[in-house]
């Protein structure tokens, strides 16, 4: 029970990192994730069932997710459709595509070799998460990562730097949805099947996890937000597991998620912003600033 909750939490945390990029960094509430999560599971399952090697299938899964992100970003920037609507359009479209990819609403992976068929699930998933986290943290320290950070911070500045802000918004969405699809693919392997409705409410679960993570680490302000997102994802799984123990039916979980998120939002009403890197240092700086001339 406990190990599987951690593993699930870590698998979902790949998705949460994707949502963290679109929602927190790009300031883009991207509903595409509800579709691209299933897309990842669908591509991975079909690939393995068709006999493609695991590595190729994983690459295809990531590419499929980034393609979904590209489409959302493209219709948003090219046709100036609002971010919410662009995401919803692609999410709805993906439902049919996912059905086509899977062939039917539910496929199982019991008869094929996959990432977790040899056991060591926890070890494998920890390696994956650490690798992804290091890569994301590094990416956002690079010059190109700086520009992607500017998308949600100050898109005007990207233009002032002589760069096309649309390009970097699309790039961020591709990265985000690639992670979401990979997460869907990992979950399909771990639970042994893909289901057409497994992506429902993914964005909300992602948000709930991010906010939960931020709340957990409020006192520890030196912790990176990517770490907070990963821990938040695991914490969220524990909240759900606890709810099931209390006697809720699995079908109630989506309602619970909505209520939990609402609860966290209300509780955090005053401090919902990203926690500062170090409150102590910020206070020092504030006093320095106020002593300065202007």
């Amino acid at each position: 029970m406990m190990i599987s909750t951690i593993i699930e939490g870590l698998i979902f945390s790949v998705m949460v990192l994707g949502v963290y990029i679109s929602y927190k960094i790009l300031d883009f509430p991207d509903l595409t994730v509800d579709g691209s999560f299933v897309l990842g599971a669908a591509v991975l399952s079909s690939g393995l069932i068709k006999g493609l090697p695991l590595s190729v299938t994983l690459i295809l899964t990531i590419l499929a997710g980034s393609l979904a992100g590209f489409i959302t970003g493209y219709i948003h920037t090219k046709f100036e459709i609002t971010n919410l609507l662009s995401g919803i359009l692609v999410m709805i479209g993906l439902y049919s595509i996912n059905l086509r990819v899977m062939g039917r609403a539910n496929v199982n992976l019991f008869s094929v070799e996959h990432l977790f068929s040899g056991g060591h699930e926890l070890l494998i998933i920890i390696c994956i998460i650490v690798g992804i986290k290091v890569m994301i943290d590094y990416f956002f320290m690079t010059k190109i990562g700086f520009l992607v950070r500017l998308v949600g911070d100050n898109a005007t500045l990207i233009e002032s730097l002589g760069m096309d802000d649309k390009k970097y918004k699309i790039m961020g969405l591709m990265l985000s949805n690639a992670l979401v699809a990979l997460s869907g693919g990992l979950l399909a392997q771990y639970q042994g099947y893909s289901d057409i409705s497994m992506g429902t409410g993914m964005l909300i679960i992602g948000l709930a996890s991010i906010i939960l993570g931020e709340t957990v680490f409020k006192k520890f302000s030196r912790v990176k937000l990517t770490t907070a997102a990963i821990v938040g994802s695991v914490a969220y799984r524990y909240v759900l597991a606890f709810s099931l123990k209390l006697g809720f039916a699995p079908g109630d979980l989506k309602l619970l998620t909505a209520v939990i998120l609402l609860g966290i939002l209300v509780l955090n009403k005053k401090g919902i912003n990203i926690p500062e890197f170090s409150f102590k240092r910020v206070n020092e700086v504030k006093s320095t600033c106020s002593n300065l001339e202007i």
Binding site: K143, L150, N154, L157, E159, S160, L161, G162, E293
Partner: protein
């Protein structure tokens, strides 16, 4: 240097076309520090938008150093044209540190790749630049810009906009959101930078005193036409200005 050649710009409204500029021509010369004044609706904002490419002209041409940039995308145009906005938050990234902001500005016009965004070798260069402001910003390089005051932020925006010596600098009421004292400090910094690097500058302002004090050419717009174009380096003209 920069030239508006016979441009026409109109906006469509429910009451028909609203003509902002009709066959408008104007030249910015090397060494110019032009103060543009005029009441609301005179066309000042549209002039700036057309210059930096946020709006396109209906007809006519825009020339920068003799090159036709009429149809050039806004973000490409901005590689040569720098602008400081009225809102201090537009010229800087609030969630990033002063150091990261300076690194971004330093990299303007180059390729943004996968190397680290902050090059530690350049820190002393940034400190030198920031110390010219006398605001102590060089000592708090790792502070997020959103923690700064409006005046500090606008001064940083000014440094960032002029770091790579643009072909032309646009100041769009860049001190109007600041209190009078801060506004004066930022104006003085502006003057220092503009004269030090000799950047042709167009300043939109509502503040006639600033327009006279800092510009060397005063232009008044009215209904999309230049109704006054004075060389302020000639002190006789400044006397005449008192009549207004």
């Amino acid at each position: 240097m920069f030239e508006f050649g016979n441009i026409t710009k109109k906006y469509k409204t429910l009451d028909g076309d609203k003509i902002i500029f009709d066959q408008f021509s104007f030249r910015v010369n090397e060494g110019d520090f032009i103060s543009v004044i005029g009441s609301n609706g005179a066309g000042k904002s549209t002039l700036v938008k057309l210059l930096v490419g946020d709006e396109t002209v209906d007809s006519g041409e825009l020339l920068l150093k003799g090159i036709d940039i009429t149809n050039q995308a806004s973000f490409i145009r901005k590689r040569k044209i720098a602008k400081v906005y009225q809102d201090p938050s537009k010229g800087t990234a609030g969630e990033m540190t002063i150091l990261e902001n300076m690194s971004l500005a330093d990299h303007k016009g180059k390729r943004f790749g996968f190397s680290l965004g902050v090059n530690k070798k350049n820190i002393s260069k940034y400190k030198d630049l920031l110390s010219t402001l006398n605001l102590g910003l060089e000592n708090i390089l790792n502070t997020k810009v959103k923690e700064l005051s409006g005046g500090q932020r606008q001064s940083l925006a000014l440094i960032m906009a002029t770091m790579n010596t643009p072909d032309i600098l646009i100041l769009d009421e860049h001190t109007s959101a600041l209190d009078p004292k801060t506004s004066e400090i930022v104006m003085e910094k502006t003057k220092d930078i503009v004269s030090k690097y000799n950047i042709p500058t167009v300043m939109i302002t509502h503040h006639l005193e600033n327009a006279k004090k800092y510009g060397n050419r005063l232009v008044k717009l009215e209904n999309g036409k230049v109704v006054l174009d004075l060389d302020l380096s000639d002190s006789g003209n400044l006397e005449n200005l008192k009549l207004f």
